[in-house]
């Protein structure tokens, strides 16, 4: 029986409409192209608050939350930052709902010494408005900024080394959390690479710990970020998390959401173009036309200022590993789409958003992260494209950066990438010095900039894809310079890109197209 989510195009098939940054473009794909669609959104939980209460009272691998509490104890609540979900969730965010019940439980047990830390790791600090969006007005007004604040990985006196693994990985985390009797982690799991041991041991750590796994060597050994068992990164994080939890008590609360990224009027963006109704087809045409005419800031506003109506599909609580097993199962249930056979050519649009440009522009380095990092890695099993194959992406690759959020990225792209694209060389020659630049550190600590190590991590994030893929061809770039810096070839149109890709592909190459967002993960076999 054919899979309705993997559609093979024929001569009568309609053109496919895919993202090219914050625009939509129509592309005619050759007959025989397999187009890979996301699953429709799963049904959300009917009573989310009841599910939260049930999870807290019936945790897996640990006593219920109320049984862990005693008057006078010191508790730290760590919360996933706004890098997830994408786009941000319509209020109330699930984290607000979980926190409301957790704080009530703490109050019921006379736990007064508690603080909430946004587990940003080396991500940018969330603004007050962003924190308010996540935790809700009531919690924000009562706690910000004294008892609700962003983690600061460069505040040396408030970081503490817990232990070192046998492999020499230093486990360093936020002192407040380390000195607490109990850490409660409130997670929002968007994709299978989130959550688990990553929550505390990455969310509350510093550069010293991140260097253990966010480096080119580990990244090259990652055979899918979306399958923790195949990811050297996940293995390292797990090892560090296990060591850490020998010293600290952590109660994990993980939540999963469906992939209802677009509200009803735009839900057709996730559908097979051949199955669109007349009205949906007209709406798609109108949207494509409108986006092509609007200036960039207006396009960004349309997509980024409208939160998504995600449904909550699961709430799990207790010990890290059993909780995360349940989370992963639920996550795959939403995202995994079986697909057989690897393609010679993988085609994908690059959308306007990534975890690292919430409320800002998807700059060239993040285009690379999306292409060779996230999209290439949206598989479980084997990559969607054969070793040495070609990836064709659609994006303008505009040389534009957010000066506040991505200040260190600019120097990385314009000063370091012209020197070398070799991740090992970047790591050895430049990373340490660049990551300690006092100006960038100050911007990270007191402004809203990413840590100066982050652009390096973003480059390494694409390393597995870079090692696997033979070529990357960009369709629709508005300049030649940026694609060249990223190591990409350029084509004016999809037919030209396919023609170029055929030069290095076998005769009658197989072509697979990723039709995202919303998110899907290919459960692929050779």
């Amino acid at each position: 029986m054919s899979n309705p989510l993997v559609v093979t195009l024929d001569r009568k098939s309609a053109p496919r409409t895919i993202f090219s940054g914050d625009r939509l473009i129509e592309v005619d794909m050759p007959p025989g192209t397999r187009v890979f669609y996301p699953r429709p959104p799963m049904e959300g939980l009917k009573d989310v608050d009841a599910a939260i209460r049930y999870a807290l009272n019936h945790p897996v691998g640990m006593d219920p939350l109320h049984a862990l509490l005693r008057p006078g104890m010191k508790v730290t609540i760590a919360i996933d930052d706004i890098s997830l979900p994408l786009p941000p969730m319509r209020r109330p965010d699930i984290r607000e709902r979980v926190l409301t019940i957790v704080l009530q439980t703490l109050a019921d047990h006379a736990v007064e010494d508690y603080e909430m830390i946004i587990a940003t790791s080396v991500h940018r600090r969330m603004t007050a408005d962003e924190v308010r969006h996540v935790v809700g007005d009531k919690i924000f007004d009562a706690h910000w900024p004294d008892r609700l604040y962003n983690h600061d990985a460069e505040d040396a006196k408030n970081m503490v080394e817990i232990c070192t693994t046998e492999q020499g990985e230093i486990v360093e985390i936020n002192r407040r959390a380390a000195e607490s009797d109990l850490i409660i982690y409130v997670n929002l799991n968007l994709v299978p690479m989130d959550g688990g041991h990553k929550s505390v041991s990455v969310g509350l750590c510093g550069y010293k710990s991140l260097r253990s796994h966010h480096n080119p060597k580990v990244m090259r050994d990652c055979h899918s970020y979306m399958d923790p068992k195949s990811s050297a990164l996940a293995t390292s994080v797990e090892r560090m998390g296990q060591q850490m939890e020998k010293h600290l008590k952590v109660f994990h609360i993980e939540t999963t959401v469906n992939n209802r990224m677009f509200d009803d009027p735009l839900a057709f963006l996730g559908k097979n173009e051949d199955d669109l109704t007349g009205r949906e087809r007209a709406a798609l045409k109108a949207l494509t036309f409108t986006l092509s005419k609007l200036p960039q800031p207006a396009r960004q506003a349309i997509f980024q200022r409208v939160p998504s109506p995600y449904g909550v599909t699961g709430v799990f609580a207790g010990a890290c590993e059993p909780v995360h097993e349940l989370t992963l199962a639920k996550s795959y249930e939403q995202y995994a789409v079986p697909i057989k056979g690897q393609a010679d050519i993988l085609v994908s649009g690059i959308p306007y958003i990534s975890p690292y440009n919430v409320n800002s522009f998807l700059n060239p380095l993040l285009v690379q992260v999306m292409a060779q990092g996230y999209l290439f890695n949206l598989y479980k099993g084997v990559p969607m494209v054969k070793k040495g194959g070609t990836m064709i992406i659609c994006h303008p690759c505009t040389d534009q950066f957010d000066n506040d959020h991505h200040a260190p990225y600019i120097e990385f792209v314009h000063r370091l990438l012209p020197e070398t694209r070799d991740a090992m060389e970047l790591h050895k020659r430049f990373e340490k010095k660049f990551a300690s630049n006092p100006a960038y550190i100050e911007m990270y600590r007191f402004g809203n900039a990413y840590h100066p190590a982050h652009p390096f991590f973003m480059w390494y994030w694409g390393e597995a894809g870079r090692q696997w893929l033979g070529r990357v061809i960009v369709v629709g770039a508005d300049n030649e310079y940026i694609p060249k810096l990223l190591g990409y070839e350029t084509a004016r149109s999809m037919p030209e890109a396919l023609e170029m890709a055929r030069d290095t592909a076998p005769r009658d190459p197989s072509i697979t197209m990723l039709h995202i967002p919303p998110i899907a993960v290919a459960e692929s076999s050779a």
């Binding site: 200040a407 300690s436 006092p438 100050e442 007191f446 402004g447």
Partner: protein, 219 residues
């Protein structure tokens, strides 16, 4: 080892050259002398304003000419008080930690300022900076003549002094850092490999955007 070159007024402190000067003029041996010096400075104010718009060096020379006749002993005696009451209190909240971070990284931290050396050495000591490049009053017969010794530290001259200092200390300028708040310091920012704008004025902020220089807020 890289050098980190810090402008002072506006960058590390919210005061400018005028504030400590006024402190000195207002604290002469007797009220009559103070009034006389302040009156003279007031008369020069329009010329200084024009000079500030045209050339920072001329402004510095005009401003410090008001020190004429003050004894060297008095300059030194008042320096501690002036530092405590005028400069230290005006330090931006994150300035000391920021300089300390550079020291901790092993940078050779240098204060480079159009202010007077006897005040800047005290600031350097307080911040943990290693060297000072600042203006020096000419002293004759134990009294200030009101003239500045060459080179006058201002504008493009700062860039030359940084080059000279880096060469003398064996620093590779490409590896060095410089921090300033003012458009007049663009030459100084341009000679190092890692410039950064600190609390920049509007023109420098615009330039920082064009050149993608980091912009830091120490206030």
């Amino acid at each position: 080892m890289p050098g980190s070159y810090f402008d002072v007024d506006g960058t590390l402190v919210r005061t400018n050259l005028v504030h400590p000067t006024l402190y000195y003029l207002a604290n002469q041996a007797n009220p009559y002398l103070s009034a006389k010096k302040l009156g003279r400075a007031l008369l020069m104010a329009p010329r200084m304003m024009v000079a500030e718009m045209v050339d920072r060096r001329t402004f510095n020379e005009l401003l410090f000419s008001t020190f004429e006749g003050i004894s060297h002993d008095r300059l030194e005696v008042l320096a501690d008080d002036c530092f405590e009451t005028v400069i230290k209190k005006a330090l931006h909240p994150h300035a000391r930690d920021f300089v300390q971070r550079c020291v901790d990284l092993g940078h050779d931290v240098v204060i480079i300022s159009g202010a007077l050396d006897f005040l800047m050495t005290r600031l350097a000591q307080y911040l943990g900076a290693h060297h000072v490049i600042a203006n020096r009053l000419e002293i004759k017969d134990n009294h200030a003549t009101g003239r500045l010794l060459r080179p006058v530290v201002a504008g493009p001259e700062k860039a030359r002094l940084i080059r000279e200092h880096a060469r003398g200390q064996g620093h590779d300028l490409e590896e060095c850092f410089a921090y300033s708040d003012s458009y007049s310091d663009v030459p100084m920012l341009s000679v190092v490999g890692h410039p950064a704008c600190v609390n920049p004025d509007a023109r420098l902020r615009q330039l920082a955007k064009a050149y993608s220089w980091p912009v830091v807020d120490l206030t």
